[in-house]
């Protein structure tokens, strides 16, 4: 007869927002919910929060793995060293430039792709698959492909571009190296951008566009007054995710130039200090600074564009 009591107990409880504060059901849901999310939370914090706190601690020491016995407390000295070094600022400038340029270009190309995907009636599968392929390709591989493409003795880019001399060495100087890095980055990550934009585009009601058309709005007016404002949330989410991703650029630079000609990014600098030079003290200070700068970038984007992630997910 236990089943019947359970039956009445649960059946009586309507799932409405105004729930009684201390019912058994609420309490058991609370505890089950916590148990179910616990492993995920523990794992996520174990590998991020804990090491980050450790980095914060280590950054206060003069600590090098080549000479671990000589660990000594230096306070904020490492931060002062990093912040007063022109290398740090040069790499930050590189990173910001890569972020701004690639995100801006990807937004335009990605939107064009999304429009085509949205409108096209035939060969949908083929188009979608080809757009997804760059996303699936390992960043390292994309870096190699573009490095060889730009290479002056094996590549095809010099031969194909009429205004470039056949012997031009793309990786011989700063500007052209950065262009090559950004092309690879844009190629690899535009698919992600265009998929997010496609999802937003699908939310814009066709009726509204049609109504604007009937009222005599031109193509440009429809795009800027109807379509874009209605997919604002999707655009903001796409920009936020891609910008933070671009700020962490590492693989492409590692493979294509290894930081030559001043093309290093801030991630690359941090990596080099820790893994190649075993400078855990200053490396940890750089880790903390990198983390803080990502927070600042995220904060600025959220504030400037007023991204509301909750409403984008209809969590409201």
């Amino acid at each position: 007869m236990t089943t019947s009591t359970v039956q009445t107990a649960t059946a009586k409880e309507p799932r409405t927002k105004a729930k009684p504060p201390d019912s058994d059901r609420t309490r058991s849901e609370n505890s089950l919910g916590r148990k179910l999310v616990a492993p995920a939370i523990v794992l996520m914090l174990l590998v991020t929060a804990f090491p980050m706190l450790r980095a914060l601690y280590l950054s206060l020491f003069d600590y090098s793995l080549t000479d671990p016995g000589e660990r000594s407390f230096v306070g904020l000295q490492n931060y002062a060293t990093a912040l007063s070094d022109s290398l740090f600022w040069r790499d930050t400038a590189n990173t910001v430039m890569i972020m701004v340029v690639t995100v801006a270009i990807e937004l335009v190309i990605g939107f064009a792709f999304a429009m085509v995907m949205h409108r096209v009636i035939f060969a949908r599968g083929v188009i979608r698959t080809s757009i997804l392929i760059p996303y699936g390709i390992i960043t390292v591989v994309s870096g190699f492909a573009w490095q060889f493409a730009f290479s002056n003795d094996n590549g095809f880019v010099n031969g194909w571009l009429p205004f470039i001399s056949d012997n031009f060495d793309w990786f011989g100087e700063y500007g052209s190296s950065m262009i090559a890095i950004m092309v690879s980055e844009i190629w690899k990550t535009t698919p992600f951008m265009s998929l997010l934009l496609l999802a937003g585009l699908a939310q814009v009601s066709e009726d509204m566009i049609e109504a604007a058309k009937v009222d005599g709005a031109t193509w440009f007016q429809r795009l800027f007054k109807v379509i874009l404002p209605n997919m604002r949330a999707a655009i903001m989410v796409a920009v936020l995710f891609r910008a933070l991703d671009a700020y962490r650029i590492f693989d492409n630079i590692f493979v294509m130039t290894a930081g030559a000609n001043g093309t290093e990014s801030i991630s690359f600098l941090t990596y080099r200090q820790v893994i190649e030079q075993f400078q855990l003290g200053i490396g940890s200070a750089l880790s903390v600074l990198l983390f803080l700068s990502v927070l600042v970038v995220a904060y600025l984007i959220v504030k400037i564009f007023r991204v509301d992630l909750a409403s984008a997910r209809q969590e409201g």
Binding site: R15, A40, G200
Partner: protein
């Protein structure tokens, strides 16, 4: 008519832009190493400069490379499996239960998705060496799990919200506990979403480079992207471009097969995870 031409041009542009570099690296992988080191401009292998399948044979015959493929497959599969199981539990709670701390889980996941991975390299390098999992499979599986959990949780909870809630309630009315309702009713319904999350997780683990190069030092755990970047071949002074290209193609094949087979699911997963449509 004008619009149709525009669409056609757009389509052609998309196809060329997306597939050209892929075609290029495949073409490069068929050039002979000699032709490449002498400098062979042009897109396709020229007459006499082709290598047939030689580069592929060399790559597959290379012990380091074979080992790296094995590492990548093993590590990515284990990380995917564990991560998806844990994310499924969490996403179920987020989508279906009312509990305090839900916002905290979603926010944590979001923050971690944006975390600058490189800033963990230092402390993890130090910690892993101290506890002795540096340069092991486990040393890579743990960070991969943590960093794929956010995407998996967001994707799965979006999927789970679409599942008809009445089914679970009906099971509970019939006497099932919350846990039984989860296992017997929701899991089968959620399987497609879980599968999508698994594909995306696998992508992340397979693509990772930062952890791959910094938390390994030998071939015992080095995954394929790291192995490719360290691959020097017989002559350390000139990088064997065509051999690398062959290696890159081999490393890419599993992913391309997955993309071809499951493109619909991948699109659904990527878009529902970020913006709910």
């Amino acid at each position: 008519m004008k619009q149709k031409i525009g669409l056609g041009v757009g389509l052609a542009a998309i196809l060329v832009w997306c597939l050209l570099p892929v075609a290029w690296i495949i073409s490069l992988s068929f050039k002979s190493q000699q032709a490449v080191s002498n400098g062979s401009e042009g897109f396709l292998p020229q007459s006499g400069g082709g290598a047939g399948w030689q580069n592929y044979a060399d790559v597959v015959g290379d012990d380091q490379f074979r080992r790296a493929i094995l590492n990548s497959i093993g590590i990515s599969l284990i990380a995917t499996l564990l991560s998806v199981v844990i994310a499924t539990l969490a996403a179920y709670a987020i989508a279906r239960l009312e509990f305090k701390g839900k916002k905290f889980v979603l926010t944590t996941a979001l923050v971690i998705a944006m975390f600058p991975v490189v800033s963990l390299v230092g402390p993890l390098f130090d910690m892993w060496r101290t506890i002795g999992i540096y340069d092991t499979w486990l040393g890579l599986i743990i960070p991969y799990m943590s960093f794929t959990l956010p995407l998996a949780i967001w994707t799965l909870s979006a999927f789970f919200r679409e599942i008809p809630w009445e089914m679970e309630q009906a099971a509970q009315v019939d006497g099932a506990t919350s846990w039984q309702a989860f296992r017997k009713v929701i899991v089968p319904l959620a399987a497609p979403g879980v599968f999508t999350a698994a594909i995306l997780t696998f992508f992340f683990a397979w693509n990772d480079f930062v952890f791959g190069i910094s938390l390994t030092s030998t071939e015992s755990a080095r995954p394929i992207p790291a192995a490719l970047s360290f691959f020097v071949g017989p002559d350390p002074f000139s990088r064997p471009a065509s051999l690398l290209a062959a290696g890159a193609v081999v490393a890419t094949i599993p992913i391309v097969i997955i993309v071809l087979l499951f493109q619909r699911k991948i699109v659904a997963g990527l878009t529902s995870g970020a913006v709910k449509g």
